[in-house]
């Protein structure tokens, strides 16, 4: 069975191609959907097996990282937003920011890095949380995965612990953005949606990192 992946492309998205390639490498059929196509009714996010909100700077991150794209989802695309909440979805970097501003993960925010600026680290370490049972993490629990970090507003902060479960943690001393409790990625409590600030799609030569995408494909196949 072919696995269809819809990748949202908003004005300012810039990681759609490598994200599509990451899914293609693990046997999926990715499709890049322009926001304008969704608004015009030519396509719907939920018409796929997996949804991906990729990285970039949607609408220039004006008024806050991911904010304008999130408000499209919260207003004109509200039905599609509701639909994907019941689907396997991966939200990477700006996609995670969009998802957070759209309320997908509850009362969480991705704030300006503690350094006050963008941070680039090609081999950022992430420990996969043992206790999280999301299919996205199958076979990876307890491992340390290294893949690129590249963001300026990725400091994870939260009001309460409802709406999300930790999925990836920065090892002690390797927290690039000052995220609370070293949280580098989360899932929804049902494990369907994974959000992370860093970029597994940029590590095509790391088979273990690519397992994140393969896990999504296996879960729906």
């Amino acid at each position: 069975m072919s696995v269809r992946v819809n990748i949202l492309y908003s004005p300012g998205t810039n990681c759609q191609h490598e994200t599509a390639y990451a899914f293609r490498r693990v046997g999926a059929e990715p499709r890049i959907l322009a926001l304008s196509d969704l608004l015009a009714g030519r396509a719907r996010l939920q018409d796929a097996d997996i949804v991906c909100l990729p990285g970039g700077f949607a609408f220039g991150d004006h008024s806050g990282a991911g904010n304008v794209a999130a408000w499209y989802l919260r207003t004109q695309l509200q039905a599609q937003l509701q639909a994907i909440k019941a689907m396997p979805t991966i939200c990477i970097c700006n996609g995670f920011q969009i998802a957070a501003r759209a309320g997908i993960f509850g009362a969480v925010s991705l704030a300006t890095n503690g350094s006050g600026t963008f941070h680039n680290e090609p081999l950022q370490a992430h420990r996969v949380v043992q206790e999280n049972q999301s299919f996205w993490l199958a076979g990876l629990r307890g491992e340390t995965l290294r893949f690129p970090c590249a963001h300026g507003e990725g400091r994870f902060v939260f009001d309460d612990r409802s709406g999300w479960s930790p999925a990836l943690l920065y090892p002690d001393g390797e927290n690039p953005d000052g995220s609370s409790e070293g949280i580098a990625g989360v899932t929804t409590p049902d494990g369907l949606m994974l959000g992370l600030m860093n970029h597994p799609e940029r590590a095509p030569h790391s088979p273990r990192v690519q397992e994140l995408f393969a896990n999504g494909v296996r879960a729906v196949r």
Partner: protein
């Protein structure tokens, strides 16, 4: 009405945002927040206002306050009222989504402190008066969209003017038309038997014949570009797809793809506003790549900046200091490159006092294009002229001609960049290309529409209606619309039958697009301002009947617009012969102290603070560089595999050293050329698979300036022919002298060289980092042991006679052949650069996390300071030492031991913690 909402960060976020401003302003109690202003037709209903407040607020990290006026102990930094905020469109969109009908928006930043010096410090240390204004009280906006201005074109009758009269007209209103150019304009008026010429034509000619657009300095010196072109053509290299004819050079890659390479400078704008100057240099060069052939996709960006010493002030008090330029450069490069989504391949900043008045702001990019879509294309008569991207405003006026003079720079010459616009049309252009919607395209940069449209229409003919150009302001004079250097715009030639398909693609990407004219086939460059002519008229082909009055602009046959500047006879300059000076005896400091001094020099010290802010991994194809190792040591080359699923590899390296060009520009050119080839061949690239890009930056008011320029071009041409390595792209900036309050300040005559190579398989790439304990480190390559221009001379404070070593090109060719044939004998290699052999070994140890034990026969630290710039330290298995060809001139200098990273001489550790810490922190600390 104007609505104001202030976004106050909560303490967690505020601490991060305040980190740098507190340092700069030296105010411990500093606070800051952002203010959003919205222009609305009426007061919004309470629920709508609450929705907007909620949409702007991220409640965990900020609080939004409505209608908070600027209070006591607070100042606000805002764009000048004539500037349209980049965030305008997004903010208006957000308003629409939450049911608030805003028509315009802008953003400002408020700072508060109890200090009575707040306003003075913000004005002196943060404010850029060329683009920003300081408010001490609420600004009281009544509207946010600038009104602009409009007036009928001025008319000039040149027919009877004498030279004095012509010269006066040529300089009027900030124009830089030379007398010979005014003669050419008078000739046009007489030939066409016109009663007058408009200011639209005078301004168009001013920019068309500027150094920026026409390379007048280079042409006047005997067609220097032609010399480099012919030298490159003489190489007969079959990898050349397109050379010096398009927005970028194109170099054959693999599997039906080619590489586009281009670098250009924004020196003048960066002297006025480093933030916007550097922002637009990155944006501009990325647009050059997009505008190559029928559209290339940028796969990487590189940048280099030289500015004055951090301890210096700008010679002109109105200009930003070198430190401000440095800090703003990092912010700008970060914001454009990261937002655009292109990996940083190489970045470096140099502090050299000669660049204190006008920096060297170079940006480069490499792109990927199907070979069949490469090569400069021409529109056909009937094709539609479509303007896409950002709005046109009154920013960047006279940018091209002002940057060509060097000595005069008005504040409006700064362009305002907006990366989001360009990200949007990046993918749209590739989609247009692949859908056969393009006949030709080009970017709009220096001289705006006048350059882009004028060049694309030459020689076939083009008709442009400026009344259709979408504006940032309510109105603008025709010549301003024509010359505006508003960024993020491109011009497309679209076959008429493909216009609907093209519009659908552009709309899909949210790209503003407007049909503003047509290509005519009449051989004339025609600009009119005809508000009565619509886009539909032009698409329907009715524009001939609705052509508008040429007296609102001009209509001139292209052959009359050709201009050849008066020739200047200049003889090449050569340095006086003499012996290279000897090294002084260095006895004052211990070897470890010497190493610390070398490693903390800004040319050697880690620039991680800057590079860590540049995204190096976006697009997912970077696999080597721009830094390596746990400590992020800069690599000597970058490599990426941009074709998904294939090992085909692009390798990029650069070469520049202003201290050498200060001494002997010709021998410096040679050393840089050879060192660059040496780098790429060491990386594993075959010599015939390397192409180059040149960027000359030379003074225009120094006695020998032109003579050196001619000599450098001759030298570079000889080297290109001797090594068979062509230049495929280049740019000259001949305005490196600035008359300042302290007198004339000039940059040295210099050329920045970039090189791109290709490898069939990334497994063939050599890296800088040492790999195996037990292997031997061997110095290879020719000696360049003069102390002149070395880091050691600067760091240790001794004078050296100004003589450079003359490396023999013939011998270097043998060296490159031997290097290419060395095979597995060379495991890894690090070119020798600033700081000499000593810095090379130390950086290698840091990057590799291995110990380096210097050869016990090393005579002393002094010989390790020699900067053998055309050579390298290579790692060789001991058993293969004997297989190294003699042409490499191999000399073992050290042995690798198990880590951690250290450098030992006679059992003494040179790389002490202080040296390592100094290397890691000195550069950032110099900008504090």
């Amino acid at each position: 009405m104007i609505l104001k909402l202030s976004i106050h960060p909560k303490p967690l976020v505020e601490e991060a945002l305040l980190r740098r401003p507190r340092e700069v302003l030296e105010l411990e109690d500093l606070r800051l927040w952002r203010d959003y202003y919205f222009e609305l037709p009426a007061q919004p209903a309470a629920d709508a206002l609450e929705r907007l407040r909620s949409a702007l607020e991220d409640a965990r990290v900020e609080t939004v306050v409505v209608g908070q006026p600027l209070a006591e102990h607070a100042v606000q930094v805002a764009y000048l009222r004539g500037i349209v905020d980049n965030e305008n469109d997004s903010l208006v969109t957000l308003c629409r989504l939450v049911g608030v009908a805003a028509t315009a928006a802008r953003v400002a930043t408020t700072y508060t402190s109890a200090s009575p010096e707040l306003a003075e410090r913000v004005r002196g240390r943060l404010l850029n008066p060329s683009i920003e204004e300081l408010h001490l009280a609420e600004p009281g906006y009544t509207r946010l969209r600038p009104v602009g201005e409009a007036h009928e074109p001025a008319r000039y009758d040149l027919r009877e003017l004498d030279d004095a009269g012509l010269a006066a007209v040529g300089r009027e209103g900030g124009r830089n038309l030379a007398l010979a150019q005014m003669h050419a304009l008078r000739h046009i008026q007489r030939e066409l038997d016109l009663a007058f010429l408009t200011d639209v034509l005078l301004e168009a000619a001013d920019s068309r014949w500027s150094d920026h657009c026409m390379h007048t300095t280079w042409l006047s010196l005997g067609n220097l570009l032609g010399r480099l072109r012919s030298a490159s053509a003489n190489t007969g290299n079959e990898n050349i797809v397109s050379m010096f004819e398009d927005n970028a050079g194109v170099w054959r890659f693999y599997d039906g793809w080619s590489l586009a390479i281009k670098a250009e400078t924004h020196n003048g704008p960066s002297a006025v506003s480093a933030y916007f100057g550097q922002l637009t240099k990155i944006g501009g060069v990325l647009r050059d790549i997009l505008g190559t052939g029928l559209g290339a996709d940028p796969i990487g960006v590189f940048e280099y900046t030289a500015t004055g010493l951090p301890t210096e002030r700008a010679p002109d008090p109105e200009r930003p200091s070198p430190t401000q330029i440095a800090v703003d450069t990092i912010r700008a490069v970060k914001e454009y490159g990261n937002t655009f989504g292109v990996p940083m391949m190489s970045s470096h900043m140099t502090f050299n006092t000669n660049y204190r008045a006008k920096p060297f702001a170079l940006g480069g990019s490499v792109g990927l294009i199907p070979t069949e879509r490469a090569g400069r294309r021409r529109p056909e008569p009937g094709d539609l002229l479509v303007l896409i991207g950002g709005l046109t405003g009154n920013d960047g006026i006279h940018g091209a001609s002002a940057s060509s003079t060097g000595s005069v720079m008005d504040h409006a010459s700064v362009q305002i960049g907006s990366p989001l616009e360009q990200v949007k049309f990046r993918q749209a252009i590739l989609d247009l290309r692949d859908a056969d919607c393009l006949r030709a395209l080009t970017d709009l940069g220096g001289a705006g529409l006048n350059s882009g449209v004028g060049e694309l229409g030459d020689p076939g003919g083009v008709w442009l209606n400026t009344a259709l150009v979408p504006l940032k302001t309510s109105s603008l004079p025709t010549w301003v619309i024509l010359l505006s250097e508003s960024q993020e715009r491109m011009i497309l030639a679209v076959p008429r039958e493909r216009i609907e398909a093209a519009r659908a693609i552009l709309d899909r990407h949210f790209v503003r697009n407007t049909v503003v004219g047509r290509f005519t086939g009449d051989g004339r460059y025609t600009v009119v301002h005809a508000p009565e002519t619509t886009q539909d008229d032009i698409v329907a082909g009715a524009h001939r009947e609705l052509a508008g009055d040429p007296s609102t602009g001009f209509s001139v046959p292209y052959e009359l617009l050709s201009y050849r500047p008066p020739q200047i006879t200049v003889s090449p300059v050569a340095a006086p012969p003499g012996q290279a000076s000897a090294w002084p005896r260095l006895t004052a400091s211990s070897p470890a102290q010497t190493l610390t001094a070398i490693l903390t020099d800004p040319e050697v010290a880690s620039q991680r603070w800057a590079s860590s802010q540049y995204d190096s991994t976006v697009q997912g194809h970077t696999f080597y560089g721009p830094t390596a190792g746990r400590m992020h040591v800069a690599t000597s080359w970058w490599a990426g595999a941009p074709l998904p699923g294939t090992p085909r590899t692009v390798v990029l390296a650069t070469a520049f050293n202003p201290w050498l060009f200060e001494i002997d520009p010709v021998l410096a050119t040679r050393q840089m050329f050879l060192s660059l080839l040496g780098k790429l061949v060491l990386a594993g690239v075959a010599r015939e698979d390397i192409c180059l890009c040149d960027n000359f930056y030379t003074p225009d008011r120094e006695a020998d300036g032109f003579g050196w320029l001619v000599a450098m071009v001759e030298e570079l041409g000889r080297l290109v022919e001797a090594f068979g390595t062509p230049l495929v792209s280049g740019k000259d900036s001949s305005a490196g002298s600035v008359l300042t309050a302290e007198g004339l300040v000039s940059v040295p005559p210099a050329v920045f060289l970039s090189a791109v190579g290709k490898l069939a398989d990334h497994a063939l790439l050599r890296r800088n980092e040492w790999r195996e304990p037990g292997n031997v480190l061997v110095r290879i390559g020719p000696d360049t042991s003069s102390p002149a221009g070395t880091v050691a001379a600067r760091a240790l404070g001794f004078a050296a006679a100004p003589r450079l070593d003359a490396v023999a090109p013939e011998g270097y060719l043998d060296y490159l052949r031997a290097l290419a044939g060395a095979g597995p004998a060379i495991v890894s290699g690090r070119p020798i650069g600033p700081g000499g052999v000593l810095a090379c070994l130390a950086l290698g140890a840091i990057a590799s996390d291995l110990a380096v034990e210097l050869d016990p026969t090393t005579a002393g630290i002094q010989e390790l300071l020699h900067e053998h710039r055309c050579g390298a330290i290579v790692e060789v298995p001991e058993r293969l030492l004997g297989s190294l060809p003699p042409a490499l001139a191999p000399r073992p200098v050290a042995r690798l031991l198990d880590g951690p990273g250290s450098l030992q001489l006679a059992r003494q550790e040179l790389l002490e913690p202080a040296a390592l810490a100094g290397w890691a922190q000195a550069w950032e600390a110099s900008l504090a």
